[in-house]
């Protein structure tokens, strides 16, 4: 006896639209069950996870702050994933963007350097991420090395490099030996959009990235190139699209956007370099990209949803003493449910008993 997935002959658009909603509800039910097993009230957890953050202005701002890096990174990843290239190392590209951009901030610290510092920092952030993303792309196109492994392993290299820098050469001499750099000057700080708010301009970058990407993927030959490379690689070669060039480009784009996310976070949110500058945004962005079905607008929505689980998870830790790991588990459940729902919209399950099953 086994299960088989049979393609459905026609897929209803309503079912396709409803699939993520159903997936969301089911993942809440599973998470609620786990919370109940842990001896807490699922209803109280739902209140803490979802309702409270959505009804509190501070939390709503925090939602945008947290969604910003994830949306930026996931938008970049969607370029790779559409072309069936697996950049798993956005976390490392994020860190390297922050390092290269942060380098300028630290080198202009305490000088009279003017308005040009911030734009140059952001540019360096993009370049840092892009160059770091090009390493796995180069290894893949030149030597045929699997990009999943190299991009993932380079994350640890980046993290350890940052760790070394903030404990060593870049440590704030007046920082009581804490492993952190000096606080960035105002000229190296990404300002908030509203004067009193916490949401910095990184969110604007994310929105711009969403809009530009929507045009590129939907309306340009380059967007079609990615889609064709992902869906039918031989047809892409037949269409004259060089696959190595595609690989290099999408890794540069996704690395660059991850780098922009990194430098925006450091200069707009954290204000200095420290050993840990991300709660795993680069990895969670993979979930976000697929939750958003690699669609730019979908990714923006998915980033907000996942940001909600981060904020809810933090309050659940404080109020209900639920472990933070549960949040990550919940993000995983959510992704599985969305992927399963998507699969079930296009396929139906058939039970095959031994002996043909006809």
């Amino acid at each position: 006896m086994r299960f088989e997935l049979m393609p459905r002959t026609s897929v209803s658009p309503v079912a396709r639209a409803l699939a993520p909603v159903v997936a969301f509800i089911i993942s809440f039910l599973i998470a609620g069950f786990v919370i109940w097993l842990m001896g807490r009230s699922p209803i109280a957890a739902f209140d803490v996870y979802v309702l409270q953050p959505l009804s509190d202005p501070w939390s709503l701002q925090e939602l945008l702050v947290k969604a910003t890096p994830m949306a930026l990174i996931a938008i970049g990843l969607s370029y790779c994933f559409r072309a069936n290239l697996w950049n798993i190392g956005a976390e490392g590209q994020y860190v390297m963007g922050a390092v290269l951009g942060g380098w300028l901030a630290l080198n202009t610290h305490g000088t009279e350097a003017g308005f040009w510092v911030l734009p140059l920092m952001l540019t360096l952030g993009i370049i840092g991420g892009a160059l770091y993303g090009l390493i796995p792309a180069f290894l893949k196109t030149r030597f045929g090395v699997n990009e999943i492994l190299t991009s993932l392993m380079l994350v640890y290299v980046a993290q350890l490099a940052l760790d070394y820098l903030v404990r060593g050469p870049w440590r704030d001499p007046k920082g009581f030996n804490f492993p952190q750099s000096v606080t960035f000057d105002p000229s190296a700080t990404l300002p908030p959009i509203l004067e009193s708010g916490r949401v910095h301009y990184g969110f604007v970058f994310a929105v711009i990235a969403v809009l530009v990407t929507a045009v590129i993927l939907g309306r340009t030959l380059f967007g079609y190139r990615l889609k064709l490379t992902g869906d039918a690689p031989r047809a892409a070669r037949f269409a004259g699209f060089n696959s190595s060039a595609t690989t290099m480009t999408v890794f540069a784009v996704s690395g660059g956007l991850a780098g922009l996310a990194g430098i925006s976070e450091v200069s707009g949110q954290i204000g200095q370099l420290q050993p840990s500058i991300s709660p795993g945004y680069g990895f969670t962005a993979i979930t976000v990209a697929f939750l958003g079905r690699l669609n730019p607008l979908g990714i923006l929505v998915a980033a907000l949803v996942v940001a909600l689980t981060f904020i809810g998870g933090e309050s659940a830790q404080i109020l209900l003493k639920l472990p933070l790991d549960l949040t990550q588990a919940f993000q995983g459940i959510l992704l599985l449910c969305v992927l399963a729902a998507d699969a079930l919209v296009s396929y139906r399950i058939r039970l095959v008993t031994r002996g043909g099953g006809k």
């Binding site: 309306r219 340009t220 030959l221 869906d231 047809a235 037949f238 269409a239 004259g240 043909g356």
Partner: protein, 515 residues
């Protein structure tokens, strides 16, 4: 002509009236075949004759539309390869299914059902190696092995299950002559022990070396069951490719016009394990004519197509010239801009992206069509183009702008050929234009190819279907093991001569060209 195989009991396996229909295409049409215990039985035929379909039915991979299978006289239903193996069938596929990173013993163990431990596999492996001369080192990783050694793993894997009937699909296609001879010795030994073997091939010499009986398929039907040792190569070739009398085309010689394609001493190494090298190919196609390239699949047709289209580049620019411009090292886009057009063999996944709409699929030949401007897609132009292809080439679609995979084979083929013909290219290279296509669509496609040539383009048609080439081609050459025979007017070819070239025995028999 039927060979005498003496046996007392019922045949080991008997196929009766096996048919398999795919839409409009009858891949197998009432096939009868019987194999005696211990017999090495050959299944001969061109590609597309229905050999693979028949074997897949026997091995439970696909279900026949009609007919029955008798195993030792009893009717059986073989629903899956698992059931086939339980019955005593073993199959060695043309393409190996092995894990490169695992050792020989591990590869064998994973394919067998649960009760085999690695230690038992090792023991039996060395036993079988000794008995049949199948030398294999149990602990070598597969990626370090040659094609012949990999095939041995597949064979040993079958033998471990004590098969009564071993099916081999084109087993020597990846082997060196020495490895082949080694294989034949093993097969003789197996046969002597009573194991039946169904040997699928289009290589005549091997079949004559191994088999007493051969069933010849053509266009899905059994055309003869013969003793290959008692028939000449010419007779067998004629049986495989069709009747040899009365079908020579006697067209008036066409007016030679300017040269559009020149291939000059083109050579290319094989692309992979199953690839075929191209050796010193020379070819000229002129405006106004259809040039046919005949040959059995796997003799370098797809490699030649890739070289002509620019999907693989030649080492010298002047190895290929289109419209007088050397472009051997230029990519497919550059060649399209020289007004060349290409249609590969695979419709889905190569010529068209299955999940993309037809209008999106027009973008695949974007380099030569007005569907994009400065990097932006002209969506309405693409839709318009798709509509006019659909209209001009009678493409039947389930909806206005469907996904490519929703079209039947014939309709999709009309679309991908139409996509190239509609812009009136100076050169069209098409690989297997009517492969697996229903008769109506095939006629329309052939007509379109001939019309294009008559309007002043050069058309190169690579095909395994000889009837098709005799119908459309003005000049023809045969490709065999990466070498192209001289190009000759179609009227000078006989089917027999083509058949001998296809089997690679033309040179051996001497003067087959000069019929």
């Amino acid at each position: 002509m039927k060979a005498d195989v003496s046996s007392s009991g019922p045949p080991l396996v008997e196929l009766k009236g096996i048919s398999k229909r795919y839409g409009d295409l009858l891949a197998n049409d009432g096939i009868d075949l019987s194999i005696e215990p211990g017999e090495i039985h050959a299944l001969l035929g061109e590609n597309g004759a229905g050999k693979s379909t028949l074997v897949k039915i026997l091995y439970g991979v696909i279900e026949p539309s009609a007919g029955e299978i008798l195993w030792e006289g009893r009717p059986v239903a073989i629903g899956s390869p698992v059931e086939a193996r339980a019955l005593g069938l073993g199959m060695v596929f043309q393409h190996f299914s092995l894990f490169d990173e695992m050792t020989v013993a591990e590869n064998i163990a994973v394919a067998l059902s649960g009760e085999w431990s690695l230690a038992t596999v090792r023991g039996r492996l060395s036993e079988i190696s000794r008995t049949y001369g199948l030398v294999l080192d149990a602990d070598r990783a597969v990626w370090t092995l040659s094609a012949g050694e990999r095939q041995r793993i597949e064979i040993v894997r079958c033998l471990l299950q004590n098969p009564r009937l071993l099916i081999l699909d084109e087993p020597t296609s990846v082997l060196t002559p020495q490895e082949s001879e080694h294989l034949f010795v093993t097969l003789d030994k197996l046969s002597a022990e009573g194991c039946s073997i169904l040997y699928i091939s289009h290589k005549l010499e091997e079949v004559r070396r191994l088999c007493r009986r051969a069933t010849i398929l053509r266009a899905g039907r059994v055309v003869a069951t013969i003793d290959p040792r008692a028939s000449t190569a010419r007779e067998i070739a004629a049986l495989m490719v069709g009747s040899e009398v009365g079908e020579i085309r006697t067209d008036a010689p066409h007016v030679p016009q300017e040269e559009v394609l020149r291939v000059d001493h083109l050579g290319m190494p094989p692309a992979g394990l199953h690839g075929q090298a191209l050796k010193d190919i020379n070819l000229v196609a002129r405006a106004g004519e259809v040039v046919g390239i005949a040959g059995v699949a796997g003799n370098g047709q797809s490699e030649l197509f890739a070289a002509l289209s620019g999907e693989r580049l030649a080492e010298r620019a002047d190895a290929i010239a289109i419209a007088g411009r050397a472009c051997g090292t230029a990519g497919i886009d550059a060649r399209r801009r020289l007004a060349a057009a290409f249609v590969p063999e695979e419709r889905l996944g190569h010529a068209a992206a299955p999940t993309h709409r037809l209008s999106e699929n027009t973008l695949i030949s974007h380099a030569a069509t007005e569907v994009s401007r400065s990097g932006f897609i002209l969506v309405s132009a693409a839709k318009r183009l798709a509509r006019s292809i659909i209209k001009s080439f009678d493409v039947r679609t389930p909806e206005g702008d469907p996904q490519a995979r929703k079209l039947s084979g014939g309709n999709l083929q009309k679309f991908v050929i139409g996509r190239e013909i509609i812009r009136k290219p100076k050169l069209l290279v098409v690989d297997q234009p009517t492969w697996g296509v229903d008769a109506g669509a095939a006629r329309l496609i052939r007509q379109a190819l001939v019309d294009l040539a008559r309007e002043g383009s050069a058309v190169v048609v690579v095909s395994q279907d000889l009837d098709e080439l005799f119908e459309v081609a003005d000049q023809m050459a045969v490709i065999h093991q990466g070498r192209l025979s001289p190009l000759k007017p179609i009227g000078e070819w006989t089917r027999e001569a083509v058949g001998l070239e296809m089997l690679g025995v033309a040179q051996a028999q001497g003067g087959a060209h000069a019929v």
